[in-house]
């Protein structure tokens, strides 16, 4: 049991995303579009964490993210950090930074917003990073952290 766990845990080259809130783990998988990757991916959920209670972890072999690709997950997992693995060694640790603009990830919480009735991509200005507050570029209303709905 321990052995097989070790086996899937260790990756030779790639990225480990740690400290993802357990409840949002699969949303993070979706934001990063991991379903469509051919890489080996290990997902761990409900692991014990001092900081988050229950956390999730994602390990992706042979994948190194661009900043703009990975920073989107800060919307759900502001405490997430990245371990860049090369030849079984952690060569770099990084935290995620929410960008100033967010396109097409969350829906707008305003039911009267045009983005909720037209087939179009949402666009938000990030007016506060922690707690997260997104100002819709269309209806100008704020979507706060509790109301973020991932498309």
């Amino acid at each position: 049991m321990d052995k097989s766990e070790l086996k899937v845990t260790a990756i030779k080259d790639g990225t480990v995303i740690d400290h993802i809130p357990a409840n949002d783990l699969f949303k993070v998988v979706r934001i990063l579009n991991l379903e469509n990757l051919d890489n080996q991916i290990t997902v761990g959920v409900n692991l014990d964490s001092k900081k988050l209670g229950k956390k999730g972890i994602i390990k992706i072999s042979d994948k190194f993210f661009e900043d703009n690709e990975i920073n989107k997950i800060a919307l759900l997992a502001p405490d997430a950090n990245l371990n860049i693995i090369k030849n079984y060694e952690v060569v770099e640790k990084r935290s995620v930074q929410l960008p100033d603009m967010i396109c097409g990830i969350s829906r707008c919480m305003n039911p009267k917003c045009i983005t909720n009735s037209e087939p179009m991509i949402t666009k938000f200005e990030v007016v506060s990073k922690r707690p997260v507050a997104l100002k819709c570029c269309y209806c100008e209303k704020i979507t706060d952290a509790q109301h973020i709905v991932i498309e």
Partner: protein, 303 residues
């Protein structure tokens, strides 16, 4: 400003707003009946608003332009399920400018992204109605001779009233003093009070009319809608507290003017109408000049 859309009052800088007001004054003094010769303006009203539509269409006609469009979405392709994007893309080919009103918030911003021509927002749900703000400012400037240091009383529904929110933002650079008079349930939202705090603008809140309205340069009245109250008894009890009567204006400044975005219900008593301080009907006339200024500016015909 050519080909720049006007969606939100904050799309224009203070200097650009001042220039629009100057142009409005030019049109009032010197009508230019051929400025829009050969131009076609589409007025797309996805929800009815007869007064706003007539004001825009009057503005276009007085400048010699032509108008196409619809005033009832039920007769247009919208009712057949066409997306807003498709409607705007197609209409863009038929005109030089789109004026649109739509019940959904953010619709005009989206239209301005997909259109090949400038878009003027004539109201997108509860969000923005920037030409209303410009005509309010034009009315203030015209009646007071200035925009600076104006004492403005806003009365009625300050919570949901988009016109008061936009006016408050647009007037803030001019060192105004605001007095807000409303039912506690319809108070100015914190968001806008924080905005004023940040800009260092003075404001005071009252729950009823006070005799300091004699300090007012402008009283800006708004309609209190019954739907805003979940408790109908409460509405009935309070609605008369925010009605302006002629006797209340005895000590008002001689230059004071009463504005209202219209339509009014009962918040301004009929006996005020004949008082020279009542300005709301002239204010509607100013709307045509303000809209002429916006139309000719976004088309690049005035600089």
């Amino acid at each position: 400003m050519k080909n720049k859309s006007l969606i939100s009052i904050t799309d224009f800088s203070t200097d650009e707003i001042l220039r629009i007001l100057e142009i409005a004054e030019e049109f009032e003094n010197n009508p230019e009946p051929h400025l829009l010769d050969g131009k076609v303006v589409a007025t797309l009203f996805f929800e009815p608003s007869t007064r706003t539509r007539l004001s825009f269409e009057s503005a276009v006609n007085r400048l010699g332009g032509r108008v196409i469009g619809f005033s009832d979405p039920n007769v247009s392709s919208v009712s057949k399920g066409e997306t807003l994007k498709d409607t705007i893309k197609i209409v863009s080919n038929y005109c030089d400018l789109i004026v649109m009103r739509h019940p959904l918030e953010g619709s005009s911003r989206y239209a301005s992204e997909v259109a090949n021509v400038p878009v003027i927002n004539a109201g997108d749900g509860a969000n923005q109605h920037p030409t209303q703000t410009l005509l309010d400012m034009y009315s203030i400037k015209k009646t007071q001779g200035r925009l600076d240091n104006i004492n403005i009383f806003m009365v009625g529904d300050l919570k949901y009233g988009r016109t008061v929110h936009s006016l408050l933002q647009a007037m803030s650079p001019f060192n105004p003093t605001f007095h807000f008079i409303s039912h506690p349930k319809l108070k100015m939202p914190d968001e806008y009070k924080r905005y004023l705090d940040k800009k260092g603008v003075k404001y005071y809140e009252h729950e009823q009319f006070t005799n300091i309205i004699s300090e007012a340069d402008i009283i800006y009245m708004t309609r209190v809608q019954r739907e805003r109250f979940s408790d109908l008894m409460e509405y009935e009890k309070t609605k008369d507290m925010y009605v302006l009567h002629n006797y209340m204006l005895e000590n008002a400044k001689p230059t004071m003017k009463i504005l209202h975005p219209l339509p009014r219900v009962n918040e301004i008593s009929q006996d005020v109408d004949s008082n020279p301080k009542a300005y709301y009907f002239d204010q509607a006339r100013n709307g045509v000049f303000a809209r002429q200024a916006v139309i000719s500016t976004v088309l690049g015909l005035k600089k």
